[in-house]
Amino acid sequence: MAKRVIPGFGLSLGFATFYTSLIVFIPLAALFAKGLSLGGADLWRVVSDPQALASYKLSFGAALAGALINLLFGGLVAWVLVRYAFPGKRIVDALVDLPFALPTAVAGIALTELYGRNGWFGAPLGELGLKVAYTPIGVTVALTFIGLPFVVRTVQPVLAGLDRELEEAAASLGADRWQTFRRVLFPALLPAALTGFALAFARAVGEYGSVVFISGNMPFRTEITPLLIYSKLEQYDYAAASALGMVMLLFSFVLLLLINGLQFWTVKRAGG
């Protein structure tokens, strides 16, 4: 092995491996052990149950939708916070982190109140024939809420670090604002935006607290997988709960791997 310049490789790698095993890998292995204890036929029956299938669709669909909304509007918020000076900027900046700090159940109750039949948003939307609370849209709203900080906080520092001269150079070469954004700024921001997107998505897939209130938890319609897992636990069916957990874990892992791959590709293209 080549001689290393930074000392402590063996020790730090050993500790990092031990730590991630203790915190992440061992609990997940226990989950798999429990789930697999069901045996092939039973396992398949639990995870391919129509109610479970419907919950996967809602969980992953709403999480992806929420993360996409955050990618777009979180990026916009980051842009405004970096590029413009305005009164109250610091307050807006602090507000962005609130979904991190708030107990998610509180957020869920507040959103249900707002979007309920008589809520500030719910009532006018209801008149337009759009029901949000107790529908998949409500689930998406809750998952958008909790995912906002991720995109903003990953894009913000990269945007702030972008050299203004790049835009000036593009302008002096005849590019208009849209061309400058699309061809110069957007490719530079994309890797960070994808990181934020992946984090927001991962957080939303596992979210439970804020969703249970606004979704109404109707099987086949507004029941997310974490809730289904919870109801299995309440019936003391730990093996089935673990099996559903395994499915979520595998899906999430594959999706995150894909996003990471995409990100790696964009970073490589960005020459950095």
Binding site: D163, E165, L166, E168, A169, A170, A171, S172, L173, G174, A175, D176, Q179, R183, V184, P187, A188, R269, A270, G271, G272
Partner: protein, 349 residues
């Protein structure tokens, strides 16, 4: 294309970056804006480019008022000190950028763009780097790519902001000579900003010396060096001994050193400041006509001897430079000498 700026002024808060600047740059010229950092030279360049707007005054390109024209429409090529290359694009795409963002009806087709980009890359002698990314290039290569990118849009004017400022001394010297040859080939009106007097004097057709937002002197490198118009230019360009003294009847006297001062023909002495170049002082070991002094130190710098001479208790040490072609040094520390200025310049005050 000619450039003219009229009565430009620009403030940043309490800081006066430009103070009533008027200049003309002739078509096909290569002009240096020279001055210490913070003197306003970069601000002036950015206002000509349209990257900054002046508080008052006008910018004329080819005789037409372009003060309100956006940088996009000015047809200027701008080269930044830190290159500002697009990191996620290859060298080819960087150079092609200006052509590929043109509106469809003015955009050359793909083959035409490729031909033009390769011609430009050949011009900057980096054709073999077309598929690389900027991060894979050296500083000197990046700056040449930045230049090729600016030239791709066939600018009417080329503006360079400290183009060699971020490069090491060796590369600077090479690129400097290369830029001069390139300009002789292309003849596009070019203005470059620098704080390096050697760079300005060596490369430019004309030099504009700027200090504290004002133009101190405009002239050819020879004029700037041989007859500086103001005390600032004398101190800034080349080395000079700065001496205080008195002038009367056409002569100035600095601790016994006498310099012709025809502007001071009056009979009663007036306080003056004199500037004498180190190589304009003659040293004689004995029987000289000048003022007597003693050698304080001798050092050889390349093909010159730098000698420090004390000519009196109250006078500052005099810096003298003599050509030296090897062999033993003609002067030693502690030796008595006579110093006489061959030329010098006297300003009131």
């Amino acid at each position: 294309m000619s450039i003219e700026v009229r009565d430009l002024s620009k403030r940043f808060g309490a800081f006066q970056a430009l103070d009533d600047v008027s200049l003309t740059f002739n078509s096909g010229e290569l002009v240096a804006l020279l001055g210490p950092s913070g003197c306003g030279k970069t601000t002036l360049l950015r206002i000509i480019a349209g990257l900054e707007y002046a508080d008052t005054g006008a910018v004329l390109l080819a005789g037409e008022d372009a003060t309100a024209t956006h940088v996009r429409e000015r047809g200027v090529g701008f080269v930044f000190q830190h290159y500002a290359l697009f990191r996620h694009m290859t060298v080819f795409d960087n150079v092609a950028f200006g052509l590929s963002v043109r509106p469809r009806r003015l955009r050359p087709d793909k083959g035409d763009i490729a031909r033009r980009v390769h011609r430009l890359l050949e011009l900057v002698q980096l054709d073999w780097l077309a598929d690389r990314y900027p991060d894979q290039l050296s500083g000197g290569q990046r700056q040449r790519i930045a230049l090729a990118r600016a030239l791709a849009v066939e600018p009417r004017v080329l503006l360079l902001d400290e183009p060699f400022g971020a490069l090491d001394a060796r590369v600077r010297k090479d690129l400097r000579a290369w830029l001069r040859r390139l300009h002789d080939e292309l003849h596009v009106t070019s203005v470059f900003v620098t704080h390096d007097q050697e760079e300005a004097l060596e490369v430019a057709d004309r030099v504009v010396v700027i200090n504290q937002g004002r133009v101190e002197q405009v002239g050819t490198p020879q004029e700037i060096y041989n007859s500086p118009a103001t005390p600032f230019v004398y101190g800034f360009i080349g080395d000079a001994n700065r001496l205080s003294g008195q002038a009367a009847a056409g002569w100035a006297d600095f601790h016994g050193l006498r310099v012709a001062a025809p502007e001071f023909g009056q009979s009663e002495p007036r306080p003056v400041t004199g500037y004498i170049r180190p190589h304009d002082i003659e040293l004689k070991s004995e029987g000289g006509t000048g003022v007597a002094g003693r050698v304080e130190s001798v050092a050889q710098v390349g093909a010159a001897l730098r000698i420090s001479v004390r000519v009196g208790e109250s006078a500052p040490s005099l810096q003298v430079e003599l050509p030296h072609h090897g062999g033993h040094w003609p002067f030693a520390v502690g030796q008595a000498v006579h110093a006489r200025p061959r030329a010098g310049r006297v300003f009131a005050g």
